[in-house]
Every structure is written in structure tokens, then in C-alpha cells.
């Protein structure tokens, strides 16, 4: 099977690929967002602790 016919999905490409793309976006966001927020929070906490030490 050629790449072209694979991507064509028997004519249903406009339904199949957006489904997969949306799933990828939602799943990645639900992991990345808490990780980024945690890093930011850790930075804030460590800044506060340094201030308190002085």
C-alpha cells in the first residue's frame, strides 16, 4: 500500500485524521499542562523560601 492511499483512508481521510489529531492534542495537553504548572509552582515555592531565609 502506498503512502498516498494510506493517507486517503478510502475517501474518509477528512473524518479519520481529524479524529486522531484531536485525540493526540487532548491527551498530550492533559500530561504536559500539569508538568508545566508543577515546574512553575516549584520555582515560586523556592523563590519564597529564599526570601524567607534572608
Amino acid at each position: 500500500m502506498s503512502l498516498e492511499s494510506f493517507l486517503y483512508m478510502g475517501g474518509y481521510a477528512v473524518y479519520v485524521w481529524p479524529s486522531y489529531a484531536l485525540t493526540a492534542v487532548v491527551l498530550i495537553a492533559n500530561v504536559i499542562l500539569p508538568v508545566l504548572q508543577r515546574k512553575q509552582l516549584l520555582r515560586q515555592i523556592s523563590l519564597r523560601q529564599k526570601r524567607e531565609k534572608r
Binding site: Y12, S19, N30
Partner: protein
């Protein structure tokens, strides 16, 4: 409680301690991620490439490999949240509260995926993006329940009180779960009946079934990874000024 053996109770107390849980999550996440990626790769390869084209639905049916596992997860995570809600209410276990709250956005994500991919599948097969039938409507209510848990928790300042409130909401909302599951049997609907769990032989070709099951297990592992990440954040938010967070930061510096 004397009914619970000492060893079991010791295990729960240790797992329930925040620094212990945090370290445990860090240790497990790389392994869970590796297993998830392997299962996902196998499931996608099997589902999008190896599995034969459906004789009725053509290649549009390949949406099944995310639609059905996502819909299963949307129910599974809600039931887990209700169980954790019960544990949080009865034993006031902090980790149950944290895991409940951490699970809600992931469950909402899967419910959203199930609804949208269902719509994208429905358009070419049924000729419509949406119908107000029992299966679709009850799944939409599930999305609102998840969003309700998220916003109720965010709205209450005192996090212990907030956790009690969302525990009750999660428990009350669980009546929706059997309604979703049996909706295709109880009511006339456009949505097709169960394909996999049907008594006796599932009405699906084995080359189509195996990738579906692989994706379902992959999503379970994904849930664990995402929930642990969210739980770590929630623990830090709640206990920002505690000693163990201080020690953690000193170790990282």
C-alpha cells in the same frame, strides 16, 4: 480500625503520606510511559495499517480505535472517581481526594474525545453529526458531570471541604454510568449495539479486535501517567509550605 490487618493499614498509611507518594510516582512514570508507547505503537500499527477494511463502513470504521477505548475510559475513570469519593468520605484519606481531583480533567478529556470522534464517525455513516438519542445525550451529561467536579473543586477555597463536595458529586453522578452502558439496549437508537462485550463471540474480526484491545490497555496506562502527574501537582499546591516540599527543593537544588 481493628478489622483491617496491621500490614495492610501500614501500607495504606505509607502510600498515603505525601512525600512517599510523590517519590513513588516519580519512580513509576518512566516505566508506565515506556509500556504506554509500546502498546500505542502496536495498537496504531494494527488498527490503521494491518486491520482489513470493513466491508460495510470502509476505512471510516478505523475511528473505532480511539472512539471506543476513549468511551470506555470515560466510564472507567468516572467509576474510579466515585470509588475514591466514597473512600475520601468514609476514611478521610487525603490521597483518595487528590486522585479524585487529578482524574477529573483526564476523564473530561476522554469524554470529549468520545463525543467528537463519534460525531466525526456519525457524519459519514449516519449522515448526521449529532442526534439527541439516549447514548449520545447520556455521554454528554457525563461530560457535564466531569466539568462540574472540576469547577466545584475550583470554586471552594478550603480544599478539604472542596474535596468532600466533589466526592458527593462524583458518587451521585455514578447513576449515569449504567444508563450510558445500557442505553443502546433500553432505547431505540442510531448508535450501534455492543460489538466486543456481546455474550459469546464478539462480532468483530480478530485482526480488528486485537488492535482495539491494545488501544484500550494503552489508554489505561495513559490514564495512570496523566493522573500521577496531576496528583503530584495537586499535592504540591496543597502542601506548598510543608517540610517535605522544602526537603524536595533542597535535594533538587
Amino acid at each position: 480500625m481493628s478489622v483491617i490487618p496491621a500490614a495492610v493499614s501500614r501500607f495504606f498509611h505509607r502510600t498515603a503520606s505525601s512525600p512517599h507518594f510523590y517519590a513513588l510516582a516519580d519512580r513509576f512514570i518512566p516505566w508506565l510511559t515506556a509500556i504506554f508507547i509500546l502498546l500505542l505503537a502496536a495498537g496504531l500499527y494494527g488498527g490503521l495499517y494491518l486491520a482489513p477494511t470493513d466491508y460495510q463502513q470502509g476505512d471510516s470504521y478505523r475511528i473505532i480505535y480511539i472512539h471506543v477505548p476513549a468511551a470506555w475510559m470515560s466510564l472507567f475513570i468516572y467509576v474510579l472517581m466515585a470509588i475514591m469519593g466514597a473512600i475520601a468520605l468514609v476514611w478521610h484519606m487525603k490521597m483518595a481526594e487528590v486522585m479524585l481531583v487529578a482524574s477529573a480533567p483526564i476523564g473530561a478529556g476522554f469524554t470529549f474525545i468520545a463525543l467528537v470522534t463519534g460525531s466525526l464517525w456519525g457524519k459519514p455513516m449516519w449522515g448526521t453529526w449529532w442526534v439527541w438519542d439516549a447514548r449520545l445525550t447520556s455521554e454528554l451529561i457525563l461530560l457535564f458531570l466531569y466539568l462540574g467536579v472540576i469547577s466545584l473543586y475550583g470554586a471552594i477555597e478550603d480544599k478539604r471541604a472542596a474535596a468532600r463536595a466533589v466526592s458527593i458529586l462524583a458518587l451521585v453522578g455514578v447513576v449515569n454510568i449504567p444508563i450510558i452502558h445500557y442505553s443502546v439496549q433500553w432505547w431505540n437508537t442510531l448508535h450501534q449495539g455492543p460489538t466486543v462485550s456481546k455474550m459469546g463471540k464478539p462480532s468483530i474480526h480478530v485482526e480488528m479486535l486485537v488492535p482495539l484491545l491494545l488501544m484500550a490497555v494503552a489508554f489505561k496506562f495513559y490514564y495512570l501517567i496523566a493522573a500521577l502527574q496531576a496528583a503530584k501537582l495537586e499535592l504540591l499546591k496543597r502542601e506548598a509550605s510543608s517540610q517535605w516540599v522544602k526537603t524536595l527543593l533542597e535535594k533538587q537544588a
